[in-house]
């Protein structure tokens, strides 16, 4: 009896192996690696819609939300690169392109369908190595109802912002819901203020920096830069050091705080906590000249293809990128993923007010590029994020933060 059971089991397993092998033969299976944790189920919808149209291509999804770069590097080093890779714009794309891991997409027809200004973020040595997918902004997401209740207007200069905060504080509302426990948000803040204060000097400074001839302090007034960090801290919840993403969203969505300095991606989370939330989106003003107040917005995610995939899979992956520009895919991207697409003439009318605000700033050209994405990866991931956090927690002086950023930067370009 036992022997019979074992034999049947073996047979079934063997059969499964054979059948599995045959079906694998007919289908092209692609691996899609992505890091955006707010669109996990939506990505499934997207790839399902693609597979419905191209039944012989199957895409399996792999989500690595935190430290995705670390995982990706080990996968690459192990010779096990995913076929389609979601990468952050600029430095991440450049890093892998420089090492030769990414397929050159310059000649693909789909690259003609994106807004030309976004191609900067994926162009390395004159060739394009990824498809820009969404534009995101970092700024102040504010609660319109609370602003109306206390009679304050969205600020356009730093002095106005100060008086808004003073009014809110006097009424017992925390001006900013902040998260100091995790370092990335404060890293964005430091880079955002630095970029705004640098203004026109940003790109020449970056070039000099990459030649090893400048310091992080050069394009800005250091005192002013860090005093804005002080201001941000003084107007945040006293417990901000204990707050991470969830607590920040809860404080803002629950109306305990009237503003949060965040990327627009967190609007969705706040909105799902409190569906009645009525928000607007404005740039963070750093000076008293309203002309300096520009939105910190740029290409956020891109899709790149691995140069080490087999020819057949590379072809299928290119087909997927091509399909992403179709109205069907853009509709899912806009309505379900709630991301602002980079394709020309994409229809974004169905999106909520904060997204409309973002599109308004984009169309009027009042934006600053995401400088942090152009820093060398280690400078951003380590020195900037941790430096900002350590400063806010009183662990480092401005000089030490800048010295560390400069040091890591030098080490990076020396490679």
């Amino acid at each position: 009896m036992k022997r019979l059971v074992m034999r049947t089991l073996c047979l079934v397993l063997l059969l499964g192996l054979v059948v599995g092998g045959i079906s694998a033969e007919q289908k092209v299976r692609l691996n899609l690696f992505f890091y955006k944790q707010e669109i996990v189920s939506q990505m499934k919808e997207l790839t399902d819609a693609f597979s419905a149209k191209y039944p012989n291509i199957e895409i399996s999804l792999e989500i690595v939300p935190n430290e995705s770069m670390a995982v990706l590097r080990t996968r690459m080093a192990g010779g096990n690169a995913p076929d389609i890779i979601q990468l952050q714009s600029y430095a991440s794309v450049f890093e892998f392109a420089r090492a030769g891991w990414l397929a050159d997409l310059s000649k693909e027809p789909v690259m003609k369908k994106v807004v030309p200004a976004t191609l900067n973020s994926v162009t390395y040595k004159g060739k394009q190595y990824a498809l820009p997918m969404d534009v995101a902004g970092i700024g102040i997401i504010y609660n319109k109802d609370l602003f109306a209740k206390y009679g304050v207007k969205p600020p356009t200069t730093f002095s106005e912002l100060k008086s808004v905060c003073a009014t809110l504080k006097a009424k017992g509302v925390t001006p900013f819901a902040s998260m100091f426990k995790v370092n990335w948000s404060v890293g964005h803040f430091l880079s955002m203020v630095h970029t705004t204060l640098a203004g026109e000097k940003l790109l020449p400074w970056l070039e000099k920096m990459n030649q090893g001839k400048a310091s992080f302090a050069d394009p800005v007034n250091v005192k002013q830069l860090f005093s804005i960090l002080d201001f941000y801290k003084a107007n945040s919840d006293p417990n901000a050091a204990e707050m991470d993403w969830n607590e920040q969203q809860a404080a803002f969505a629950g109306g305990k705080a009237a503003m949060m300095v965040q990327g627009l991606w967190s609007y969705g989370a706040a909105k799902s906590t409190n569906p009645k939330l009525n928000c607007g989106f404005i740039p963070f003003p750093c000076t008293d000249d309203p002309k300096d107040t520009k939105l910190f917005a740029d290409v956020d995610s891109t899709f790149a293809l691995s140069a080490t995939s087999s020819r057949e899979r590379l072809k299928a992956a290119k087909l997927f990128l091509e399909w992403l520009a179709s109205p069907e895919a853009i509709k899912i991207w806009v309505e379900r993923c709630k991301l602002v697409p980079t394709f020309k003439g994409a229809d974004v009318k169905s999106m909520d007010q904060p997204f409309q605000d973002l599109v308004y700033y984009l169309n009027s050209g009042r934006t600053n590029p995401w400088a942090f994405a152009m820093y060398p990866v280690a400078v951003w991931e380590d020195a900037t994020k941790n430096g900002a956090q350590e400063y806010l927690l009183g662990r480092k002086t401005p000089e030490q933060v800048i010295a560390y950023i400069d040091e890591v930067w030098r080490r990076e370009i020396a490679k």
């Binding site: 030769g100 417990n239 140069a307 030490q400």
Partner: protein
């Protein structure tokens, strides 16, 4: 007789050889490779063999330099000119007998060898540079002094300043004029021994005072660095985990009721996944600890986060050491304890002179385990604080991880890992030597 001999050979082939082979592939080989990497500047991203060459470079510097045509042909098999004809690309997928397959490790090594013979390699040998840099240029590895400012310009003025802050951190940094201004605003309260802010300051004065305080009130503080934190964590963890484990074992070795239930209870934290433990405790630190202690911020505070990490680690580990101590206690012959009791030894004397000396073997093991575990602690800290805030809870292993994966310095990180390995070997070796000697003395 011959049968025995044969069975010995058979055992050797069946068990010892495979074990040695596994040990070689999974321990010795990576270890040796690690030592090799620690002398290089590999950044972790550059592939072992270049994935593409510019046409001119490939034909001139590679094919041109190769004397052996076999080798050149071998390379041509894998490096194929792409459609536009400007770039030679490595085809990692080759067609063989009508099927596509990925190139093997063996082929990769051969390509690497050939390229190396013409002087092309993506990884550079830099000797002891990595090891020197750990002590020379790493800004957060060793303890160092840093300046801390105590007042934020945009916060309200503090209603009072302690004597120590005033006399040590502020007054010595002021000019005479500023000093008399500050002393006119903050009045010394003899009874409470603090400086109180005078009421009725004008707006201009308040602003000036805020500027002075934010710029001049600072103190130089020793920041423990990665090594300092790891040392702190190790010392606390070794002391408290062992102490608590021993106390629990002694308590549960008596004939109290429900002792089996209690034993399981204390052991339970060790069964839980570390990630679950970390989530549980981050709730505890946020919601319960502030009410118990009156201190609001635990995991987010650079001063208290190390303490919090130790608390969780001890809570999690002590049950395990309790079990080892319990086993040790139960091997103590009951007649010895009873004889001491008959001789009139008190509870303390029995513990001090009979039980503890006989527990030394258990103590040796526990000390070894706690030392090694806390020196290489990663997962718990990573899940609880991620090494933050800032670098306040970055242990050596987390630092190695950051160097390798966030900063792209694989060679450097490997050098640190080798250093850590040596430290652990030295510390635990010394500990084993000392405690073993003590055991023999008894």
């Amino acid at each position: 007789m011959t049968g025995k001999k044969w069975s010995r050979v058979l055992y050797f082939i069946l068990f010892v050889l495979p074990a040695l082979a596994l040990y070689g592939t999974f321990f010795i080989k990576p270890f040796v490779e690690g030592i090799q990497y620690s002398f290089t500047d590999w950044n972790g991203v550059v592939p072992e063999i270049p994935l593409s060459f510019e046409r001119g470079q490939f034909e001139r510097d590679v094919l041109g330099k190769l004397r052996d045509t076999h080798k050149a042909d071998y390379l041509r098999r894998f490096y194929v000119l792409d459609e536009e004809g400007g770039v030679y690309r490595l085809t990692t997928w080759i067609e063989e007998r009508g099927r596509e397959r990925q190139i093997t490790q063996w082929e990769r090594n051969r390509i690497k060898g050939i390229l190396k013979s013409v002087g092309i390699s993506s990884i550079r040998f830099i000797g002891l540079e990595n090891f020197k840099n750990i002590f020379r240029t790493d800004l957060r590895f060793l303890p160092r002094k840093e300046r801390v400012y105590l007042h934020n310009e945009f916060s309200d003025l503090p209603s009072s300043i302690g004597t120590r802050e005033m006399r040590r951190d502020l007054i010595p940094h002021l000019s005479n004029e500023e000093r008399s201004f500050v002393e006119s605003c903050y009045v010394f309260d003899e009874a409470a021994r603090i400086y109180r802010l005078r009421a009725g300051l004008e707006a201009g004065e308040r602003e000036r005072l805020g500027r002075i305080l934010s710029a001049k009130m600072y103190r130089d503080r020793l920041i423990p660095g990665v090594v300092g934190f790891t040392a702190f964590f190790t010392v606390c963890n070794v002391i408290f985990a062992n102490l608590l484990g021993l106390v629990l074992a002694l308590a549960l070795d008596t004939r109290i009721r429900l002792r089996n239930v209690l034993r399981s209870c204390f052991f339970l934290p060790n069964v839980l996944s570390l990630i679950v433990v970390a989530f549980m405790w981050s709730f505890v630190f946020r919601l319960i600890f502030p009410k118990l202690t009156g201190i609001d911020i635990w995991l987010g505070s650079p001063e208290l986060a190390p303490v919090a990490v130790v608390i969780v680690s001890v809570w999690q580990a002590c049950g395990y050491y309790m079990v080892i101590y319990l086993a040790g206690l139960q091997t103590i012959p009951q007649d010895l304890v009873e004889a001491a009791e008959v001789d009139g030894a008190s509870w303390w004397q029995r513990l001090r002179h009979v039980k503890l000396p006989l527990l030394l073997p258990a103590f040796t093991i526990c000390l070894f385990l706690t030392l090694a575990n806390s020196l290489k602690c990663f997962d718990l800290i990573y899940a609880l604080t991620g090494g933050g805030p800032g670098y306040a809870t970055t242990s050596i292993v987390i630092d190695i991880y950051n160097n390798a994966y966030l900063q792209n310095q694989f060679g450097y990180a490997t050098a640190k890992a080798i250093l850590l390995c040596l430290i652990i070997m030295a510390v635990t070796g010394l500990q084993l030597f000392l405690t073993k000697r003590k055991e023999i003395e008894l």
